[in-house]
């Protein structure tokens, strides 16, 4: 029985999605986490350390910024949740701070992670440096090439970056390699997953750590407009961690519209896309049942998006449930629409967004809101890492 859109049932299911489809070799580690994560998170000492790090280290609360010129352009009230101002440049650090504290309390000495754009890898390397723990990041060979600055950041932070050379050499393959590492190192290793994917309890744990985003939005909106509830919240979805955090405390508020924006790549019908709910079918990847882009024979398809952080063939099980139940509205934006939105934000508001977040901004062109509506868009990360892409666009225009 579905009690809430926020949390899965005891077996880790959001409706029909989720679960823990893992080989026995991972059982003990996942079970250890499942048995302990809620207790650890609820512990006052944990909460004290977590909140202190969020405040003094990550720079929370992040501002909720009323974007006046953007609002004027779209004829509604647009607020940007400035996760781009977090330490390390994106929301990812909310989760890695939480998970490193869990890892520490489980007595783990060696941290592994997967990364796509490198943001989660950087956020993991950062907290490992903070705690003096060994850090190994798996990253697709192709992503290592296209995200060189983040690779350098991870290395400077003391992490070992291992290229994933199998399959499409992107995020999905980096995740496979990280899971294999975990199977081979069952005793001392903790796997910090970067999104609301993976076997139960990962989707729930990551969503809880990211839920600080919507918790702050409620408080900040109340201060600004006298009500905690906006008309709608909008976020981009690859695996869906910033979206899970942005939606979390609004999911059980029926008056709030939930808008998830997937990466359409070159377009939904071009075979160069990453819009898992539009192109996928229910399937199993990386330990949970969700929407998955796959061939009719059940082989996982290689996604495409200009944004490495959205270049994933699946979507978190929480989002799959929002999609099938209709609680969430799933939109998508092409590479070009995201680029246009990024340049528009830079010119109108003086903020250069990450390409991932630009997909969320592109939704403002796709849904019309009333003049007195209040809309919150999650600006999940900043655009520094994407400057090469942006420079290429500007070069082409000249």
């Amino acid at each position: 029985m579905q009690v809430s859109y926020k949390q899965p049932d005891e077996q880790g299911y959001y409706g029909e999605f989720g679960g823990a489809y893992i080989p026995e070799m991972l059982y003990r580690n996942v079970e250890e986490l499942r048995e302990n994560y809620l207790k650890i998170i609820a512990d006052p000492a944990f909460q004290k350390e977590y909140q202190l790090l969020l405040t003094d280290y990550a720079g929370r609360p992040t501002p909720l910024y009323y974007a006046a010129r953007l609002s004027e352009k779209y004829g509604t009230n647009v607020y940007l949740k400035r996760e781009d101002l977090c330490h390390t440049g994106a929301h990812k650090v909310n989760n890695t701070i939480g998970q490193i504290l869990v890892a520490e309390r489980l007595g783990k000495k060696r941290i592994i992670a997967e990364t796509g754009a490198g943001q989660h890898g950087v956020a993991t390397a950062t907290v490992c440096a903070l705690k003096g723990l060994e850090c190994i990041v798996y990253m697709g060979e192709k992503d290592i090439e296209r995200q060189a600055p983040n690779v350098a950041r991870m290395k400077m932070l003391g992490a070992t970056v291992i290229p994933a050379k199998s399959g499409s050499k992107t995020l999905k393959d980096a995740t496979n390699e990280a899971i294999r590492d975990w199977i081979n190192n069952p005793n001392d290793t903790f796997y910090i997953i970067g999104s609301v994917v993976g076997p139960h309890p990962y989707p729930d744990m990551v969503a809880r750590f990211q839920s600080v985003i919507s918790k702050e939005i409620r408080t900040q909106l109340a201060e600004k407009i006298g009500t905690e509830l906006p008309r709608a919240v909008i976020a981009c979805v690859g695996g869906g961690s910033n979206a899970a955090g942005t939606f979390y405390h609004f999911l059980d508020e029926p008056s709030v519209g939930i808008y998830a924006v997937e990466a359409a790549g070159c377009g939904i019908d071009t075979h160069m896309s990453a819009a898992a709910t539009q192109l996928g079918k229910p399937g199993i990847l990386h330990g949970s049942k969700s929407f998955l882009m796959q061939t009719p024979d059940g082989q996982v398809e290689e996604p495409y998006s200009i944004s490495a952080g959205l270049d994933y063939p699946g979507i978190g099980p929480m989002h799959a449930n929002l999609f099938v139940t209709g609680r969430g509205t799933f939109l998508n934006a092409t590479d070009q629409e995201a680029l246009d939105a990024a340049f528009e934000l830079a010119k109108l508001e003086g903020i250069i967004p990450a390409l991932e977040s630009a997909h969320a901004l592109a939704a403002l062109n796709k849904v019309s809101f009333a003049k007195d509506d209040h809309i919150v868009v999650c600006l999940s990360g900043r655009g520094d890492k994407d400057m090469e892409t942006y420079m290429n666009v500007m070069g082409a225009k000249r």
Binding site: M25, P186, V300
Partner: protein, 256 residues
Amino acid sequence: MSRLKELFAKKGKNVLNVYCTAGFPQVNSTLPVMEALQENGADIIELGMPYSDPLADGAVIQNSSTIALQGGMTLSLLFEQLKPMRNHIHIPVVLMGYMNPVLQYGFEKFCADAAAAGVDGLILPDLPPFEFETTYKAIVDRYGLSFIFLVTPETSEERVRKLDALSSGFLYAVSSSSTTGNEKDFSAVEQYLERLQHYGLNNPVLVGFGIKDQDTFSRACKYANGAIIGSAYIKALDGQTDLAAATRHFIKNVLG
């Protein structure tokens, strides 16, 4: 009596189960490889259904799967290839693979086609016992297929007993908590297998992962009913044109 039951009733020790990937090294080599395995003394064939993202397997088996998929292997083609299987193959055959392709094919249709082809059992490492019990067991039973669970050195006694109770045919003991093809210290493995022996389980136990030659095979067989060889055989097939000769040579090396 099922082929697996019959085998273990007849031969309780030194059972040799060899893994091969369907459609590897060539898309049409599935049956020839199985025939070569039977001819040279394999007792069971574990036939891998290639998948793009095989989490529980190492690089060697993933690579063989990629080659098979590039060659056009699909579940439909595999069942087509297996139609005449029982004209030549008399030893037990178990299918090993991952849940996603099976779900897309349709779990019940998959079981029906497997049973019709004369397959004896299934190994689906990413199908956990909870989902198996609540959703899939009844279907597997309906088609008379065995279902084989994995246990590892980290699996508690209570859980080993539960997995044993849910398994039929045999229990698959992973020799180290690792993806296939990794070599680890064998003495820790022996302790673990001894522990399994003392449980007095319902099913025969076959040891997998890390078995590659006569030494590792005979050491594994000391504490179990037999062993499973995977990566080492796939490596032996790689680049070979005479698959029968490569298989003969490989199995001779294992059985002595």
